[in-house]
Point group: D2
Chain length 424, copies 4
């Protein structure tokens, strides 16, 4: 299924008058609105191939219907999202779930949907059917060099797949760790992991980056071998200039100040990318901005400030990706909500009066610092985000149009009710 | 110092044009704006007498200047706040810090500032200079009946003070608990506390309420004898119809869902009052809405929904109070920011389309449920709150006017730089 | 496979001299050792049928081999455990995973292994293949009465199964809750759940109990409808005298004082049973005592103290069960370790000098209170637990004998390497 | 007051028979007992000068009596502790609270009590009476270079004091951070702090070390500028080889795996020292081992393993110190309990069968790994610790003898009931 331009136009037409009034008010209130819009238009958030089906927990999974049955259908789904919001122009693949059979066909399908291939993701947290050695006790950290080698080879194969598709980054998320005190020698686990990463690093083509993702816990419940930003930074620093830390919002201990971590990683030149989601308890993988929208804004506030200070291009300097699990919502609607929340936070961060903030900080005027940030956060920027979307050819109200066009019903009709997205 | 009407008028005049434009847009977008404003005008948040000076931690305290040196000056300070925002028309006293010498004089001073006396607060978490027995090992829970009796008598004395001033509620916050495993017999501590509360309850005049506040930890670091809402509800249920639970936002374990607690307490008819503040780690006592504004909105969403369902008047049905500590901000500016954040959240909660939400809930349309709540939260309601404030005679921008009028400089000139608010 | 008496005897013989020396020292140090041993012998911990296979997380599962393929094989596995430790003489079934085909055969199989049928567990957190309506949006809380009725009927069916087998309790763990703000009306969800539970309660035979289990989060990540002990107690109180709260150690928010909860529930006469496991982050379901053994001891300290105060028989008054997930260990070895840790904690709690503790508490001698508890905890009670096990006919070192007898290799030979325990 | 040798001898005599029996059993069970004892004898834990008086919280402080009124009396108190346990042979001073008037007199007083001067502690978290500029908004991070310079100068002065006394390390704990979003530019705060530390570092004498302590929160409640081990390591790495990270057990986010942090810092050669205490919620500063004794053991397990791997001497390679707050116990009894718990954990860690553990780890035998650690932890090592203490001339039961000799009553008689330890 594809959404046609005339369908978007008709939808936009209907909502045009209301939008114009709101945008005109927003523009009258914000002098820099055009500059903001031009940044919004360039800002694209990658969609991971595994987020298109219904997610679940260890207790079960309640599948919806019409889930993509192949890489082609995953691309089709992201194409639908991107058509609607014009901000989801990239796909992040997961190997082995998404190995193409025909690379050229896949590349032209993606091009047809205006999608580029974002960071490639390896998988050493599960055993595949045909796999020789098990990752039950880790992969890159494993006490047995043969297991480590298998995991290294897999990562190098993922790079090879990425090169064939035109990606330029590898994300390594490791489930490696331990469930019980004593299970691991922490230092040896670190050293094994480092040596394994060095072999993978050596296989990176020029202009490629490797992102070392950290996570505090789950699926291991005592220790994780890349457990926090400090550990990730240690690996990335030892590896070299192509290695960066990747921040996933749900991968922290309770109460962590993530925006400070983001700021310091930018300071060190080692922030590589981002996995957006939201959470209340652990790695809940909820819709971005659904639980702590102010935190999302504060993170974007640091991103904008730090990237500008370092001369990093907002659109291309870091890897932006959603990583969420859609357990009770239609995955495509959920992704539309996430992208929307991200664009809203980014817009609010762009509206922060940075000159005034710097003065207030210099004067230790804490009341004023808060006022400046909250002034931006309390601003209703939805019309600005919508204007940017409209100028890019997207829909005024993506979720609404998605429902009007009965996209899900259509996908179910085409793909069936009991499909399971590959990989899940 | 008092702020004169002409000063407020001059300030409002200056900001009038901008406000009119913003409010007119807000009104055009929200059909129920007048109904909302009438509710906002009635909504008053009590200021505790101990929040007018600079706060601190066990590591130290960096006092500002011009802090109130007497109950009279505390009332004067709240009078200033109320003059500016017209939403702080109540004061909550703390005994023994605020024992009046002349009740009639104090009552007419409060009346002069349009303030009423909110819930009275007892203090059994510190030893006073002239105190016979120590609360080192608890008060109402104490193993020694003589200590319990002293604490009971103190609470009854607080009621007596409150009666003299026209208050009609007693808030009992107990530091009682233990620092080490084994220190307490939990059941006996509960029973002692219950019996002590029963004696206090028996001394409540008709039409009085007692609020049993709970707190997870601090100043005790192993157990607290009224430690969570479940325990508070148990006490309140056993005590009788005049006893209620009081919720302080900072008194929970990490990640607690406070809005659900609020909802269930309303369901049980046992929610008595609220202490507003914000926090990231523990009982940080930060400015309301400064850390988790969405949580504050979600709490108000439950309050509005639950009070309406139970037929509870928003303005008078529950006790609304700020309880914060102003360590790095001017206390009066901090309180203005807190009240503002509370009014914003309340307004957004009033704007929630409840009919649509009920339908979406009934249909398990989770995407729509979120859209409905976030539609209200993302709305910029500041002009609505400002309009309500203006109609009540308050200032367009309270913090701004406070600074223009150099209130703090004035207070310092009158009271001195090295004053310490009584009680701190 | 069954373990023969002569095999246990041979093993015990080998370790006899060492044990005798250790036990004789332990006996010389603890005057009440015989009284303790007689209690240990009676203390039995139920094993849940679902804990016999390898567990996993949403990220994957690394199965071991020889897992039970049927209810008969599950009973066989628990029979092996009980033969080894003589403390696992009960099985807790899960419906629909464990519906017997021949009740008499199952009952005599269990009797053959000296096992009784502990609390029955219902399942409304997953959809079964043949199920008419989905539990995606809850079961007993569901907005649709038809779904609620289906879940009620299922629970009543579980009772019926339990009656046929001779069980006398139903454990209701509900995944019901919400993943996003706004998804649920908390009060209606509570009321629906309560009404559903009332129908189930009405179907309880005389002498049956129903345990209402609470859990803070997972699989729902915003709210849970039986989310903490306060909510569970509210349901149990409204339901009536047959309804109790069940405490699972992993179902709390970070830093919760579980032992205080246990004590208060005992005080209220509403503690029904226990699910043992351990955790560091969330519901990690690790081996009991593997992470926080002092907490386990403190819980037993409250259990012993509270049960004795209320005249509750240690062995039969409450439901004792392990609920863990064995992701990286052999499930049977893991269960042996859990039972051992529980017996050790129980023994240490029995050794606490309660008379001295009461005096120290009465004198607020906190140092002494701690000394008394830690004196018991620091005591090496393994020889006492071993002596109790030996007197009951169990093995001196259950894990060691399990390995000597190559039980797992045997089970793999009989059942195959790639089996999956039913239900997982 | 001093405790005489004959008093210790009389006490030990009385308990001799029982001890001999217990130690003889312990020795018969542990082949390496003599090696362990020789390590215990050398292991000394510094006592901070500020831990000798009653502590408190922001809510109040319930002082005991007989608290030291001067540096001389603080040394006297630690002398008492060391006399009793022979494991507290060092004092850690805090400037400006402990500036000596006569260095030689202080040094010979310390020598008289067999105490050496451990790390010196600076104080920039409070304003002193005579201080020119305020630390309200930070010290080494401050936006104003003049404030930073004042704090730098203070730290250099602390070094100077330490040199005069024979100390060789400086501990820098910074309260620096922020209470509200926006208050700080995180990167500038880091850079300012780093530059300030560089100036202090430059003033370090040869053979001195500087310890950079980290803390997640309190007294700042939004961000801390040395907030976690990752940040501390970043500072220490940038500063140079004399700079190390200091770990305080209470300074982490909930659920942090501290033992892994310890292990990795040792791996990096950057673990400098330790502040022992225990906690349930935040920086509760409770008696070491009173809340999570298994965690304390696991930390020592990593310390022993990592120090041995790196060839670091247990007794002299790292700085060992207690940092606790004694709110409800007699401070001296509390310190005796802490030292005892530390010695017990250290002993248990020394008993771990490391060769077997390495094999089990290599075989991924998780069950066995746990058995090996818990075998050491479950061992009652109190007689071994007592034997070490006796051989050093200490008391069999320090707390018991402290009470028998009525030390506290004595100190109250000498110093008065209402004294307040200087600095608090």
């Amino acid at each position: 299924m594809e959404i046609e331009k005339y369908q978007i136009d008709a939808h936009n037409e209907k909502l045009d008058a209301t939008h114009k009034q709101r945008f005109s008010f927003a523009a009258s209130e914000n002098a820099r609105v055009e500059e903001v819009i031009s940044k919004l238009i360039k800002f694209q958030i990658a969609i991971p191939s595994w987020a298109l089906g219904t997610g679940g927990t260890r207790f079960g999974r309640f599948s919806g219907g019409g889930e993509p049955r192949s890489l082609e259908e995953k691309i089709e789904d992201i194409g639908l999202l991107h058509k609607l919001n014009q901000s989801s122009g990239a796909i992040s693949l997961h190997i082995p779930w998404d190995i193409p059979t025909d690379y050229d066909a896949i590349k032209s399908l993606a091009a047809h949907h205006n999608l580029r291939f974002d960071a490639m993701n390896s998988n050493t947290f599960q055993d595949q059917a045909d796999q020789k050695l098990s990752y039950k006790f880790g992969s890159l950290q494993h006490v047995d060099k043969a297991v480590r080698q298998q995991a290294i080879d897999h990562n190098i194969e993922v790079i090879r797949q990425g090169v064939a598709l035109g990606s330029d980054a590898l994300t390594v998320w490791l489930a490696d760790g331990s469930c019980f005190p004593g299970q691991l020698n922490f230092r040896k686990a670190f050293q094994n992991t480092l040596e394994s990463l060095e072999e993978i690093y050596a296989a990176l083509p020029d202009a490629w980056k490797v992102f070392v993702e950290y996570k505090a816990f789950e699926p291991n419940f005592y220790s994780t071998t890349v457990g926090d930003w400090g550990q990730s930074l240690l690996y990335a620093s030892k590896l070299g200039p192509k290695a960066y830390t990747l921040v996933d919002l749900g991968h922290h201990l309770p109460n962590a100040n993530i925006e400070q971590i983001v700021s310091l990683l930018l300071m060190e030149g080692k922030l590589g990318g981002f996995h957006f989601n939201d959470s209340k308890y652990g790695d809940d993988d909820l819709t971005a901005g659904s639980m702590k929208p102010y935190q999302l804004f504060l993170i974007f506030n640091e991103l904008v400030d730090g990237m500008d200070a370092k001369g990093i291009d907002h659109a291309t300097g870091l890897g932006w990706m959603i990583d969420a699990s859609h357990n009770v919502k239609d995955p495509l609607e959920d992704l539309l909500q996430s992208v929307d929340a991200i664009m809203i936070s980014y817009t609010q961060a762009l509206l922060v009066d940075r000159a005034a903030l710097t003065v207030a900080q210099q004067e230790n005027d804490v009341v004023r610092c808060q006022e400046i940030l909250q002034d931006a956060f309390r601003t209703d920027v939805r019309a600005i985000v919508q204007e940017a979307r409209l100028r890019s050819g997207g829909a005024a109200q993506p979720v609404q149009l998605y429902r009007e066009l009965k996209v899900r019903e259509n996908l179910i009709a085409n793909r069936g009710l009991k499909t399971v997205a590959t990989g899940l």
